[in-house]
C-alpha cells in the first residue's frame, strides 16, 4: 500500500527495502517530562497513539493488589471535560477505537484512529491525564466488571490457577508474588483514597512515554502535544520498588486441585531482567526449546514420546528479574512425574552437550522474520518501539536486536542453560483433579 515508497524503490537494488531504521523514529520531550516517539507512515490513512505508564502490579502492596489494573479501567470512566461514558462515546463517534492492558510492570493505553480525528484524541487523553474524576458510583459498577474479568479468566483457563500458584511460591518478597488482576478481597475493598493517591503518583506526564505511528507529520504531533499535553504539571518521581527477591535456594513445589481431563504443569526458573547481558541468549534458548515443530521439547515430548499435547516456554521482558516459564499439558494416561522428568532430560541434554550451530541459525532466522512481522503494521511499530524504550531503556535497541541476537553463540546458550536451569532455582506447579494421593 505504500505506493510512493514503491516508486522510489524501483530505482534501487531489489534487495534494499523500505525497511525501517532507527532514524525513522523521531523523538522529543515536553517540558513536563513526557517523552514522545513518532514514526511517520502514510501507508494507510490511520494512526495510533500508545501511552506507556510505568506502573503495574509491581508497584502495589498487599491491601491494594490489582489496583493498577483497576485503574486502567477507571481511566475510561470520566474526567472534567468528558464525563462518565463520554470518553468512549466521543472516541467512537470520531471513528476511533481503544484498548488498554496492565502487566506486572506497565499499564499501556492504545488508541487507533483515522488521521482526521488526531486532535480529538489528544484532547481526550489530555482531559483524563490532567483531570480524571473518580466518581464513587462508577467505582462501584466498575468493581463488578473487574470481578467478572477475574472470574471469567479462571472459569475458562486452568492455566490461570496454576500460574498464580507458581508465582506466589517463586516470589516471596518481590511484588511479582501476586497476580496482576489482584486478590478478590482487595478488589472488593479498594477505597476512594487509594485511587486518588494512585492517580496522582503514577499518572504523571513524567511517568509516561507516548508512541505515535501513522499518517501524520512529526511537526503536527509536536504542535498538538504542546497544545494539549504540555500544560499538565510534572509530579515528583514515584517511589522506587526496592524489594529484591532473595536467591532461591531450594526447589519449591505447589499443587492445585481442579477438575480437569489431564494434569497441567507449570515450571518457573528465576532469570534476570531485560537489561541483563544474558537476555538475548535466554530468549534464543526459549525458542530452541519450543518454537516450531522441530523445537527440542515439541519434537521430543509431543511428537516422539507423546507425553504432552502442548508445550510452550516463555521468557519475556521485565523490569526486575522474573521467571522463565514452561507450560505443559499432559497427554491421556501420562503420569505427570514422567512428563516432568522428560523435560529435565531435554534440559540436561542442552546443559551437557549444548545446541548445534544449525539450531542457533534457525532461531536467528526466525527472529529476523519476527522483526519484519512486527514492523509490517503501524500498531506493531508503536507497540514494539514502546516496549524497547521501556524495557531496554532505548527504542534504538529494537533496531539493534537482530545484531544482538546474531552475537549469541552456541556456548552462550549452553552457559545460560547451566546457570539458570538448576533444581534449587525452580518452582514446579501441578494442577490436576486428584491432589490427595
Amino acid at each position: 500500500m505504500k505506493k510512493l515508497i514503491l516508486l522510489l524503490l524501483l530505482f534501487f537494488n531489489a534487495l534494499t527495502y523500505a525497511q525501517m531504521t532507527a532514524e525513522d523514529v523521531k523523538t522529543f520531550t515536553l517540558k513536563n517530562g513526557m517523552k514522545f516517539l513518532v514514526v511517520e507512515d502514510f501507508s494507510i490513512p490511520n494512526a495510533n497513539m500508545y501511552l506507556f505508564y510505568k506502573v503495574g502490579s509491581r508497584n502495589e502492596y498487599q491491601g491494594i493488589t490489582g489496583l493498577s489494573h483497576f485503574f486502567e479501567h477507571m481511566m475510561f470512566n470520566g474526567a472534567k471535560k468528558y464525563g462518565p461514558k463520554i470518553f468512549d462515546q466521543v472516541m467512537e463517534f470520531n471513528g476511533g477505537a481503544n484498548n488498554a492492558y496492565t502487566t506486572q510492570d506497565l499499564t499501556v493505553y492504545s488508541n487507533w484512529f483515522p488521521i482526521s480525528s488526531t486532535e480529538v484524541i489528544f484532547d481526550l487523553e489530555a482531559d483524563r491525564i490532567s483531570s480524571l474524576s473518580i466518581d464513587p458510583k462508577m467505582v462501584e459498577s466498575e468493581r463488578g466488571v473487574v470481578l467478572s474479568e477475574r472470574r471469567t479468566g479462571l472459569e475458562n483457563s486452568p492455566w490461570r490457577n496454576i500460574i498464580q500458584a507458581v508465582q506466589a511460591a517463586a516470589f516471596i518478597e518481590h511484588p511479582y508474588h501476586w497476580p496482576v488482576i489482584g486478590y478478590e478481597d482487595d478488589m472488593k475493598n479498594w477505597t476512594q483514597e487509594d485511587l486518588e493517591r494512585y492517580f496522582k503518583t503514577y499518572y504523571a506526564p513524567n511517568n509516561c512515554v507516548v508512541v505515535i505511528s501513522g499518517a501524520i507529520k512529526l511537526e503536527k504531533v509536536k504542535e498538538l502535544a504542546i497544545k494539549y499535553l504540555e500544560p499538565i504539571s510534572i509530579q515528583p518521581a514515584p517511589p522506587i520498588v526496592y524489594n529484591k527477591e532473595p536467591e532461591q535456594n531450594g526447589e519449591r513445589r505447589v499443587s492445585v486441585q481442579k477438575d480437569v481431563a489431564n494434569p497441567y504443569l507449570v515450571i518457573g526458573y528465576h532469570v534476570p531482567e531485560a537489561q541483563n547481558e544474558d537476555y538475548y541468549a535466554l530468549s534464543i534458548l526459549s525458542s530452541i526449546l519450543s518454537s516450531g515443530k522441530s523445537s527440542r521439547l515439541y519434537a521430543s515430548l509431543v511428537d516422539e514420546k507423546q507425553l504432552a499435547t502442548a508445550i510452550y516456554t516463555d521468557y519475556s521482558e521485565s523490569f526486575d528479574p522474573n521467571l522463565f516459564y514452561f507450560y505443559i499439558s499432559a497427554n491421556n494416561d501420562v503420569n505427570e512425574t514422567d512428563l516432568e522428568n522428560a523435560i529435565y532430560q531435554e534440559l540436561n541434554k542442552i546443559k551437557n552437550q549444548g545446541i548445534t550451530e544449525k539450531e542457533l541459525q534457525k532461531i536467528k532466522n526466525q527472529k529476523l522474520i519476527e522483526f519484519y512481522n512486527q514492523i509490517e503494521t503501524i500498531n506493531g511499530k508503536s507497540n514494539n518501539i514502546g516496549t524497547y524504550e521501556l524495557f531496554f531503556g532505548d527504542y534504538k535497541k529494537m533496531f539493534q536486536a537482530p545484531e544482538n541476537f546474531d552475537k549469541v553463540t552456541v556456548e552462550d546458550v549452553k552457559r545460560v542453560a547451566n546457570k539458570y536451569f538448576t533444581k534449587s532455582n525452580r518452582t514446579v506447579g501441578v494442577l490436576k483433579t486428584n491432589v490427595e494421593e
Binding site: 500500500m1 523500505a18 475458562n156 499435547t309 506493531g380
Partner: protein
C-alpha cells in the same frame, strides 16, 4: 500483541471500522486474477513494503462434507503436513522452521485453507513444499494415529473452557439437521471411527483444483510468480467426483424459543448465547447489517455492552455478531455473568434487543456507528496475509473488490429509514435460541422462562 491472524476468521465484522471524516477513502491495491486450465483460480497482488510473501489457498473441504464422520475435514487438513511424495514430515518441519516460515492448514465449517507466510528469498523452497502439501500428501498412518489421539485429548480439554465449546452447542440448536450444525472438531465417537482410508477418500474427493483458489500477496514480481505458480499447479488433475453443495438445502425456520442448558458442575459463572438465524455473506444488505450491528453489539459503547457492562457491571463484556456462510448464517448475542446474576443479565440482554425494535436508533448513534466502522476499516487490510486472505474470501463468497472500494459509499448511504428496515428484517425479536453453560442446580429454574429446555452435561 502477538500476531494471531486466523485465516479467514469467518468475517466477524463486529470489530470492523474506518472514518467518514477522512478525505482519502481506502482502495484495495491492484491485483491480477487468472484461471489455469484445470480450473484453479489464481490471484496475485504485489506489495513491496517488507520482504515477505503470503500465500492463501482455499478448497471446498470443510466440516459440511464430514458426513457421519464428524471431525473428518479437520483431521484431513492436519494430516496434509504428515509427509509428502518428496518430503518426510520431519523434513517439512525442519525446513520451514529453519527459515522461519509458517504453513498452517485448517478446516472451517465450509472450506479448508492453507496459509503460509515467509521471506521473499525463500519463495522457491516454500512454494515447492506448499505444492506438495496440497497435491502429493502421503498420509502416514502412524502420524495419523498420533494426530487423532491429540484431537481426542483436545476435545476433552476444550470442555474446561465454556467459551471454547459454546459455539458448537449453539450451532446444533440453531441449525438442527442442516450441515451447518456440523462440528469442526467432531465428537469422541466420531473421531474414534475415522480411519486413514476415510482421510484418503476425503482428500481425493475434496482437494481438487477445479473449485479452489490460491492467492499470493507480497514482495514478488507478478510475471515471475505467474510462471512459478503455473509450473507448480497446471498439471494438477481435475477432480472426477461432483461435489454437491450440501449447504444449499434450506435451513428450517424455528417457530419457538428453545433453551439448551449445559450443566457444568464447577461453574462460577454462566456463559450464554442468545441467537437466531442470520444471513449469508452475499446478502445485498451486508454493509448496512454491519453498521447496525456495530451500534447494537459490535463495539465498546454498543447498546449491549453499555447496559450489561458499563451501566450495571454484570459482565466484563457483552456483544453480538453475525456469522456468515455461503448459504446462510447465524446471529447471536454473547456474554457471561456470575451464577447469581444470570437471570438479570439474560433479561437485560433481551430488553436491549426489544428496545432496538421498539425505540429504534437515532441519527446521532447511526452517524457514530458509520464513523467507527469506516475509521477502523483500513487496518484490516494492512499486511500481506490480510490481503491474501481477503482475495480468497472474494473467491469463496463470490463478491468483488467493490466490497472494499465502495465500502465507504455504502456505509454513508445508510439512512435512518433504511436502518429501521434492516433491524426489522435481520434482527430477531422472538423465538430466541439460547444456550446456557453453567451450574444447572443454580440456573435450571431460570432457564424455563425462556423456552423449552433441554439439559445436557458438558462432560457428555
Amino acid at each position: 500483541m502477538k500476531e494471531m491472524k486466523k485465516l479467514l476468521v469467518l468475517i466477524c465484522f463486529t470489530v470492523l471500522t474506518y472514518s467518514g471524516m477522512s478525505a482519502q477513502s481506502y482502495k484495495l491495491p491492484e491485483f491480477t486474477k487468472f484461471k489455469l486450465d484445470n480450473g484453479l483460480t489464481i490471484y496475485l497482488m504485489e506489495q513491496h513494503d517488507v520482504p515477505l510473501i503470503s500465500i492463501s489457498a482455499i478448497l471446498p473441504a470443510g466440516a459440511i462434507y464430514d458426513g457421519d464422520k464428524s471431525g473428518l475435514a479437520r483431521l484431513t487438513a492436519l494430516s496434509l503436513k504428515h509427509g509428502t511424495k518428496n518430503f518426510t514430515k520431519s523434513k517439512i518441519d525442519e525446513t520451514l522452521d529453519f527459515i522461519g516460515a509458517g504453513v498452517n492448514v485448517s478446516a472451517s465449517k465450509e472450506y479448508a485453507t492453507l496459509s503460509s507466510k515467509f521471506a521473499t528469498k525463500d519463495k522457491n523452497s516454500v512454494m515447492t513444499i506448499v505444492k506438495e502439501l496440497l497435491r502429493e500428501p502421503i498420509f502416514d498412518e502412524s502420524e495419523f494415529d498420533k494426530e487423532k489421539s491429540r484431537a481426542l485429548v483436545e476435545l476433552e480439554t476444550a470442555k474446561e473452557s465454556p467459551k471454547s465449546v459454546i459455539g458448537d452447542y449453539f450451532d446444533k440448536l440453531l441449525f438442527g439437521d442442516h450441515v451447518y450444525s456440523n462440528s469442526i472438531s467432531g465428537t469422541k465417537e466420531s473421531l474414534e471411527s475415522i480411519t486413514i482410508n476415510d482421510i484418503k477418500n476425503f482428500y481425493n474427493t475434496n482437494f481438487t483444483p477445479n473449485n479452489a483458489a490460491i492467492s499470493i500477496a507480497g514482495d514478488f514480481n507478478s510475471d515471475e510468480m505467474k510462471e512459478i505458480i503455473t509450473s507448480l499447479f497446471s498439471d494438477w488433475k481435475k477432480g472426477t467426483s461432483i461435489l454437491n453443495n450440501l449447504a444449499s438445502q434450506p435451513i428450517i425456520k424455528l417457530l419457538s424459543g428453545q433453551v439448551l442448558l449445559v450443566n457444568k458442575d464447577d461453574a462460577n459463572e454462566t456463559t450464554f448465547y442468545i441467537g437466531a438465524p442470520g444471513v449469508s455473506r452475499n446478502n445485498k444488505d451486508i454493509v448496512a447489517i454491519q453498521v447496525v450491528n456495530t451500534l447494537f453489539g459490535g463495539r465498546f459503547t454498543s447498546m449491549l455492552n453499555e447496559e450489561l457492562r458499563i451501566n450495571s457491571g454484570l459482565t466484563y463484556g457483552a456483544g453480538s455478531r453475525f456469522r456468515y456462510y455461503k448459504n446462510g448464517g447465524a446471529f447471536y448475542i454473547n456474554t457471561f455473568t456470575a451464577n447469581e446474576t444470570t437471570e438479570q443479565a439474560i433479561d437485560l440482554a433481551l430488553e436491549v434487543t426489544n428496545r432496538l425494535h421498539t425505540k429504534g436508533i437515532d441519527e446521532k448513534s447511526l452517524s457514530s456507528a458509520k464513523n467507527y466502522i469506516k475509521g477502523q476499516f483500513p487496518p484490516r487490510y494492512e499486511t500481506v496475509n490480510q490481503l491474501s486472505d481477503f482475495l480468497i474470501e472474494m473467491f469463496w463468497y463470490d463478491f468483488d473488490e467493490n466490497y472494499i472500494n465502495d465500502f465507504e459509499k455504502n456505509v454513508d448511504g445508510l439512512t435512518l429509514e433504511k436502518a429501521k428496515k434492516i433491524i426489522n428484517t435481520y434482527f430477531p425479536k422472538d423465538n430466541y435460541q439460547i444456550v446456557l453453560i453453567g451450574k444447572a442446580s443454580e440456573i435450571e429454574k431460570i432457564a424455563v422462562k425462556y423456552g423449552t429446555v433441554k439439559q445436557v452435561d458438558i462432560k457428555d
